[in-house]
Subunit: 363 residues, 2 copies
DNA sequence: CAATATGCCGTGTGCGCACACGGATAAATT
DNA sequence: AATTTATCCGTGTGCGCACACGGCATATTG
C-alpha cells in the first residue's frame, strides 16, 4: 500500500522534465523525443504512477461525457422500467464525473420508431451510445452510425452476434433455463410432469425464449435419477382469465401428475390466477422477476422460486461500463452476463433492499 | 437531469456573497450571519447544489483518511480471508479519495492478542476503526477508546447489542436458518427426517449458531403441509474421518428416513466425506459458503444448496460505509444485513465472478 | 475620542491534471 | 547570414473546493 500517491510532478522531477511533458507521454500525444519518452515510461512503471481520477475529472470538467440511451418505452412493458431505473441510478452516481445521459425511447412494436430514436440520438452528438437493439436490421444501422462517429456502443438485454460493440450486458438465457429446470426438479418426484409455459404475445423475445427452453430441456435430459416428462405451452391469450382457467383445467385432466410449471417470463402470476386454490398450493411454480404480483404470491408460497434476471443491473452496469472505458480507460469484456439470483420468500427482502441501498460507482 | 452542475460559485453569485461564505455554510463552520446563512441554504436547496466530490477530495488531498482494521488472522481460519479481500478491494477503489487502510490482525483464540491489536490500532491515530469484535469484554474497551478519540467504529461479522457504533455489517443468522429450512423442506417428503449438524470446536460463533438453529426450527414449526422431524447433532471431532463415518452410519440405522442435513457452517464437505456413495446421492444437504471443497461437491450434486453469507461483502461494505459517512457525510443505518444468496451448481459461476469483476465505489 | 476587540465576509493559494500557447533550439531553406 | 520550419519542451491557466488569512465594518472599552 503506497503511503504517498505518485503524481505527475513526482515523476517529472525524477526524470528532470516538466509535468507537461509527462502529461504528453501519459496521453500519447506525441511531440516528445524517444529518449525522454522511454525514461518517463520507465519511471512511471518504477514509481507505480496511477493518475488521480479526481483531479483528472476536475480538469476535464468543461466537457461533459454525454451518453445517449435508446430504450423501449417502459409504459408499454413495465419490464423496461427496471433497466431505466438502473440507468438513472448509475447516472446519478457518476454525475460528479460530469457524465450526462439523454434518453431516446421508442415503441417496442415499431422498428421505424426505433430508427427514429437512433437518428435523434446520433444527431445529438453523444460521446457514447447505450441501446437495447430489439430489431436486428435497424440495429445494424445504429452500429454503422456509431462506427462512423467513432463512439463506443453498448448493448443491453439483446445481443447481436458478431457485432463490433464495446460490450453486451444481459442475462444468460440458456443458463437461466437450466437453473429453472434444476429448481423444479428438486421439488418434483419421479414420474411427475412439468410444463414450460410461455405467456407472450410478441416474438420480440423469441431468441431469449428459445434459449431458455433449450436450457430447461437440456437440464432434464441430463439427469438420470428421476424421470420427469416435459410439456410446452404457448399462450397468447394470457389476459383472458376465463380462457386461462379453462385451459388450465384441461391440462390437469390430460396430465394428472402435472406438478411443476416454468413460466419463462415475468407473468407467473397470470398462471397462478388461472389455478384452483387447492392446485395453487400443490404445484411448484418457477418464474422470473421481482415484480409486485409475483412477490405477493411468493410470500404466499404459491410461487416457489423466482429467478431474478437483475434487469436493474443491466442499466447500471451499462453506464459503469462506458464510464470505466472512456473516463478510466479500463479494459471491458465483450460479454457481461448478470448473476442469476434465486429468490424465495425467505431472502427476498435483501434483494429488494439491495437495489435501493447498495452504494457504488467506479473503481 | 440538471444539465449544468451547480457549484459553490453559482450559489454565491445568486445570493451575492463570496464562495468562501457559502463554503462556511456548507461546512457549518459558523462566522456567517443568520440572514445570509438562511438565504444561502435556501438557494442551495432551490438550485439543487451537490458538492463536487472530485474537487472536494482534491482539495482535501493533503490529509489522508486512515482506517484501522482489526481482524482475526486469516491463516487460522480461511473464512477471514474473505472479508480481508473485500476490505482490500474496497480500499483499492477508494484510493483516489486518499483513503488509507492499516491492518491489525489478532489470533482468534486469544482475547489478549485482540486487546493488543486494539491498542496498536488506536495509538496509530486513525480516522476510523473497523473491527470484528469476537470477544465481548475486550470489544468494550475498543468501544470506549473510539468514543474517547471521537472516531467512528464499524463492526463486522459480530454485533454487540446496544453498542454505540456507526454500523454493524453482517449476516442475519436467524434468517439464514429459516432459509436453510425452506430449501431443505422443498426437497423433502412428508414423514422425512432432517438433521442440523454443527461441526465446530469453538464456541466463538455460539451466538450465530444459536440464531441459525432457532431460525431453522422455527421454519419447520411454521409449516403445516408436511411433517418433518428435526434432529440436532454437535460434533467436535469432525477432523477424524473414522469417527465421522461411524457416527453417520449409526444415525442412518437409528433414523432410516433421515434424508436431509443442514450444516451450520462452511464444513458441509466434512459431512459428505463421512457418507457412503449411495447415501451421498440420496440425502439433501444444505450448507454455507463458496469454499473450494464445497464447490466441488456442489458441482457433483452432493451438496444441493449453499447459502452464501457474502463474507466478502462485509469487508467491502465496511469500507464504503466509513467513506460514505466521513467523506460524503451520508446517513448510515445502524445495522446492515447482507443478502442471503442461494447458490446451486447452475448459478455458482456468476457469484464467483461477481467478486472479481463488479466495479464500484461511492455514490 | 482613540484604542482595541469582535463578528462577518472576501481573497488567495493549492490540490493533480489537461491542454493551449509560446519559447527555445537545431535543422533546413533562402 | 538571415529567415523559415520543424521538433521538442516549459509555462500558465482553470476545473471546484477547503481553508488560512486578512480586511472591513461595528461594538466595546479605557
Amino acid at each position: 500500500m503506497p503511503d504517498q500517491r505518485i503524481t505527475l510532478k513526482d515523476i517529472a522531477q525524477r526524470v528532470g522534465v516538466s509535468t507537461g511533458t509527462v502529461d504528453r507521454v501519459v496521453h500519447k500525444r506525441g511531440h516528445v523525443s524517444a529518449e525522454i519518452r522511454d525514461r518517463i515510461e520507465h519511471a512511471m512503471k518504477e514509481m507505480g504512477y496511477a493518475p488521480n481520477l479526481a483531479a483528472r475529472s476536475l480538469a476535464n470538467n468543461n466537457k461533459p461525457f454525454r451518453i445517449a440511451i435508446i430504450l423501449p418505452d417502459y409504459r408499454q412493458d413495465p419490464y423496461w422500467a427496471q433497466p431505466k431505473e438502473g440507468l438513472e441510478r448509475a447516472a446519478e452516481s457518476v454525475r460528479h464525473y460530469n457524465v450526462q445521459t439523454e434518453f431516446f425511447s421508442f415503441s417496442m412494436f415499431q422498428p421505424r420508431d426505433f430508427l427514429e430514436s437512433v437518428d435523434k440520438a446520433l444527431e445529438s452528438g453523444p460521446g457514447a451510445v447505450l441501446a437495447a437493439p430489439l430489431f436486428l436490421e435497424e440495429a445494424k444501422i445504429l452500429l454503422k452510425g456509431c462506427q462512423l462517429q467513432n463512439i463506443p456502443l453498448v448493448f443491453i438485454n439483446t445481443d447481436i452476434e458478431g457485432a463490433d460493440i464495446l460490450s453486451y450486458i444481459g442475462q444468460d438465457s440458456y443458463q437461466s433455463g437450466v437453473l429453472a429446470g434444476r429448481l423444479l426438479n428438486f421439488g418434483l418426484s419421479d414420474g411427475d410432469h412439468a410444463m414450460l409455459v410461455n405467456l407472450d404475445k410478441e416474438v420480440s423475445n423469441a431468441r431469449h425464449l428459445q434459449d431458455k427452453e433449450r436450457g430447461f430441456k437440456d437440464y432434464f435430459n441430463g439427469i438420470d435419477k428421476k424421470s420427469i416428462q416435459i410439456h410446452t405451452a404457448v399462450l397468447e391469450n394470457f389476459d383472458q382469465p376465463d380462457f386461462m382457467r379453462e385451459w388450465a383445467k384441461k391440462q390437469f385432466e390430460q396430465i394428472p401428475r402435472l406438478n411443476g410449471f416454468f413460466v419463462t417470463n415475468s407473468r407467473a402470476y397470470k398462471l397462478v390466477e388461472a389455478l384452483d386454490a387447492a392446485v395453487q398450493d400443490r404445484v411448484k411454480i418457477v418464474g422470473f422477476d421481482l415484480i409486485e404480483p409475483n412477490l405477493k404470491l411468493l410470500a404466499q408460497g404459491k410461487i416457489r422460486f423466482l429467478i431474478n434476471q437483475n434487469a436493474w443491473h443491466q442499466g447500471y452496469l451499462g453506464i459503469l461500463t462506458l464510464v470505466n472505458k472512456m473516463l478510466m480507460s479500463k479494459e471491458i469484456p465483450r460479454t457481461q452476463y448478470l448473476p442469476l439470483d434465486i429468490i424465495v420468500k425467505e431472502n427476498v427482502e435483501y434483494y429488494l433492499k439491495r437495489t435501493l441501498e447498495l452504494p457504488m460507482v467506479i473503481v
